[in-house]
């Protein structure tokens, strides 16, 4: 269905200049294309990476002025001046993205708004360069017909690039960061790098559209690059459908044609505009494309799993081999808001086998995992992995050293399919060449197939292969945990930390889990740290147990010894009546 839809769009785009010679209609069609390009760029930022921008008019302006100045000031030809604007926008986009390093939500909205306003006012103030409020005239322009073909081609290429990006390791990484930054970092993905990359791509596309805008009109002035323009860009994307490849095109059409249809009602234009917007937000929370797709999905059969992708069992191999201590935690302490969560915790995990950490709720077990994996910074103490200190390193850096984890509440990337979730783990920090991802080079296809095959094998091992193509959000709780473990193992870790993997599982599922963990151990898989309440499971499969109570380790040793320890019995197992 999607293929037919794209065919129809392409046919319409090709036939339009034949059907009409009315330059106004062609101009409108050009406007649709420009808006679609900016919205597609914004889609990379907001739809994939989850960052809203209210300042894209600024990048649009950089593209337009860059191209206009190159063409008028330097006398460069069109094919050279448009890329000038695009590169300028990309460089500034990277800088803005980097500056917005730690901000999110309304703070990020503010950074982008401020950026847009600064650009607008610089354009007005720097008269010698930009012509001030009067703008730049006499930009060499193409006839409307020529512009039409150029812009139509640019729009097609842009949509193709974003579709490629979405289907690549980079696209998955961006969506992972959007869906759960915490889980993405646990797989070695730097959320900062992902977001800055998205910002750069997004700004470059806005710059491209700006350059094309300049040569379409032959005249630009700051009036075209206000906050209102930025809002229209965002509206086009949200109306069309955030995150979908076709959404920007649909939004571009709607937001270009709507004002045209309302010209007769000039006095009520804003009321109608605002009301339509409200109605679309109420009625179409996922945009037009999202609404159409969810209707179609209800009827579509599940895509069958092709037989050759199944069943290639490839056991994960541990990277470390020696029997010495893999993880050493020494005197670890942390407190939050004056309340001590952990103090003086010492723990050694050898490079193989299962080490359980037990203790009452709130004893600090999850905090310990968060400290080891870099989510919290310890106030005191040492954490060494294979002899090297890792305390205070960011989560993605710890993950890249071969530490994988699961979360107490499983955090699959809900926007992605089950198999894509595991593919993110397989790829880890190795996202490949960004250009290759955008252009879908031949190497990319091969790599994708390898990633997919590996991911399917891992899913098969946990019995999830039949649901590989379903969205992760549709999995029930027990399977979400299975998916998360498969995803963690996909990174081929040396150390795997499991945070209450048995919580909420049925006895059969717990037995499966126990069998899988012991099988992993006997295959020489990663060292496992198991935080768990389920005493049957802990006693059955652990090689060693450490008991945490009130932020301290009160006992450690073999299961049988720990079980008899009177302190453990009092703190945790219960006082015999």
């Amino acid at each position: 269905m999607a293929r037919a839809g794209w065919g129809a769009v392409a046919a319409a785009a090709l036939l339009l200049p034949l059907a009409t010679s009315n330059t106004y209609y062609l101009y409108l069609a050009c406007s649709v294309g420009l808006l679609a390009i900016v919205a597609a760029g914004l889609n990379v930022l907001a739809g994939f990476a989850g960052q809203i921008s209210l300042g894209h008019a600024g990048f649009y302006a950089l593209g337009a002025y860059g191209a206009a100045l190159a063409a008028t000031g330097l006398g460069w030809p069109l094919w050279a001046s448009v890329p000038v604007g695009m590169v300028a926008a990309a460089i500034v986009g990277a800088a803005v993205g980097a500056a917005a390093l730690r901000v999110s939500g309304p703070y990020l909205a503010m950074v982008t708004i401020a950026f847009g306003i600064i650009v607008e006012h610089v354009l007005m103030e720097w008269v010698s360069l930009t012509g001030g409020p009067g703008g730049i005239f006499n930009i060499p322009k193409l006839a409307v017909g020529g512009s039409y073909w150029l812009i139509a081609a640019a729009t097609a290429v842009t949509l193709w690039l974003t579709a490629n990006l979405r289907a690549s390791a980079w696209g998955r990484a961006l969506l992972a960061v959007k869906s759960s930054e915490v889980a993405a970092e646990a797989l070695g993905i730097s959320a900062y790098l992902a977001r800055t990359t998205a910002f750069t791509i997004s700004a470059a596309l806005a710059g491209l559209a700006g350059g094309l805008f300049a040569i379409l009109n032959g005249y630009i002035s700051p009036d075209s690059f206000t906050l209102q323009t930025s809002i229209v860009f965002l509206l086009a994307l949200l109306f069309g459908g955030l995150g979908s490849v076709a959404g920007p095109l649909v939004g571009g059409v709607a937001l270009t044609l709507l004002p045209e249809l309302l010209t007769g009602l000039a006095d009520y234009r804003l009321i109608l505009y605002g009301s339509l917007l409200l109605i679309s937000i109420y009625g179409l929370p996922t945009g037009v494309v999202g609404a159409v797709r969810s209707r179609a999905r209800r009827h579509a059969p599940h895509p069958a799993l092709s037989p050759e992708t199944r069943g290639r069992e490839a056991p994960p191999q541990g990277k470390g081999g020696d029997a010495a201590a893999l993880l050493e935690v020494e005197g670890l302490g942390v407190s939050f808001g004056g309340v001590v969560a952990l103090s003086g915790v010492t723990l050694t995990v050898p490079s193989n086998g299962i080490t359980a950490v037990i203790g009452p709720n709130g004893a600090g077990k999850t905090t310990l995992i968060n400290l080891i994996t870099g989510y919290y910074r310890p106030d005191a103490g040492q954490i060494r992995l294979a002899g090297e200190p890792i305390a205070g390193h960011p989560p993605y850096a710890v993950a890249r050293r071969g530490v994988a984890r699961t979360f107490q509440t499983a955090q699959p990337f809900d926007d992605l399919s089950v198999v894509e979730n595991v593919m993110i783990g397989v790829a880890g920090a190795r996202l490949g060449h960004l250009g290759g991802a955008l252009l879908h080079g031949p190497g990319t296809s091969r790599r994708e197939r390898a990633l997919r095959a590996r991911a399917l094998a891992l899913l098969d091992a946990v019995g999830l292969a039949p649901r590989a193509e379903e969205p992760a959000a549709s999995l029930p709780a027990g399977l979400r945990r299975g998916l998360e473990i498969a995803r963690a193992l996909a990174t081929e870790p040396r150390l795997l930390l499991l945070d209450e993997p048995a919580a909420g599982l049925s006895p059969t599922e717990i037995a499966d889990l126990a069998a899988r963990l012991t099988a992993l151990r006997s295959r020489g898989g990663p060292a496992i740290v198991l935080v768990e309440h389920h005493m049957d499971l802990v006693m059955a499969i652990s090689d060693r147990i450490s008991v945490l109570d009130y932020g301290r380790v009160i006992a450690a040793g073999a299961p049988a010894a720990v079980r008899e320890n009177p302190m453990v019995i009092e703190a945790y197992l219960g006082v015999p009546a």
């Binding site: 709720n361 919580a503 309440h533 005493m535 009546a577």
Partner: protein
């Protein structure tokens, strides 16, 4: 006085059903405990009774009055007070202000508030000395005490306690349980959800065992305590030595 009854209760998060057909009853003056592992649905049960979550099916009633699906602020005013897991004290406000907020839901708004605060903190000397300190500056144990005292300010007919022992040192756990026992002696009706099954069963009147969202066992607490399955799964091997 009327009982708190739950019958045929089912709760779902999106596609996942967390509680299946749960029924239980809390009669005035009783202490009833619900035990079960992490993820069994204990907290979901209390939150649904208190109106924080909406049930997918089933009936929740105080006496004859149905409260299923009503928002939490209305349930609170029907005499059901939940002391949530993790305490939920208002850290930027003083202990006294926290207690005043707790009193919003009491049925008799006319009586003077001062003596009521005195009564609520009577069990908790540490709070009495810190009435004008911000609640966020209290230790974990003191915050738990405050959460219970705040729940009492509503003069509830049913006090719902969600894992009051969470994150507390053994000594403090014992203290909390002593307080709950004393409340029972004063006639407060308590529905207690606990992971520390041994302590909870030690002084509850009746108990329910929740496993994977279903009630698998119920009865007088002393019977549940000696049930071999319960001993093995929740009380640890320590008791069978």
């Amino acid at each position: 006085m009327s009982a708190l009854t739950v019958s045929g209760l089912s709760v779902a998060y999106g596609a996942a059903t967390v509680l299946h057909d749960v029924s239980l009853e809390v009669r005035p003056g009783e202490i009833v405990t619900v035990i079960g592992g992490n993820g069994a649905g204990k907290t979901t049960l209390l939150k649904t009774v208190a109106g924080v979550l909406r049930p997918a099916a089933g009936r929740i009633a105080v006496g004859e009055r149905s409260i299923a699906g009503r928002p939490s602020w209305e349930v609170a005013r029907c005499g059901v007070a939940l002391v949530p897991e993790g305490r939920g004290v208002f850290g930027d406000q003083t202990v006294r202000d926290n207690l005043l907020l707790g009193a919003l839901a009491r049925a008799d708004r006319g009586q003077p508030i001062g003596p009521q605060i005195d009564r609520a903190v009577a069990h908790f000397p540490a709070l009495r000395e810190r009435l004008d300190r911000p609640a966020g500056a209290l230790s974990g144990g003191q915050q738990q005490m405050l959460a219970v005292a705040r729940g009492l300010m509503a003069q509830p007919r049913f006090l719902l306690l969600d894992e009051p022992s969470l994150g507390l040192a053994p000594l403090l756990v014992r203290e909390i349980f002593t307080v709950i026992a004393r409340l029972r002696d004063e006639g407060v009706t308590v529905l207690l959800v606990e992971q520390m099954a041994a302590q909870a069963l030690a002084f509850a009147d009746r108990a329910y065992v929740l496993e994977r969202g279903r009630v698998t066992l119920s009865g007088p607490a002393h019977e549940i305590r000696s049930n071999p399955d319960v001993v093995r799964a929740y009380l640890g091997t320590a008791r069978t030595r």
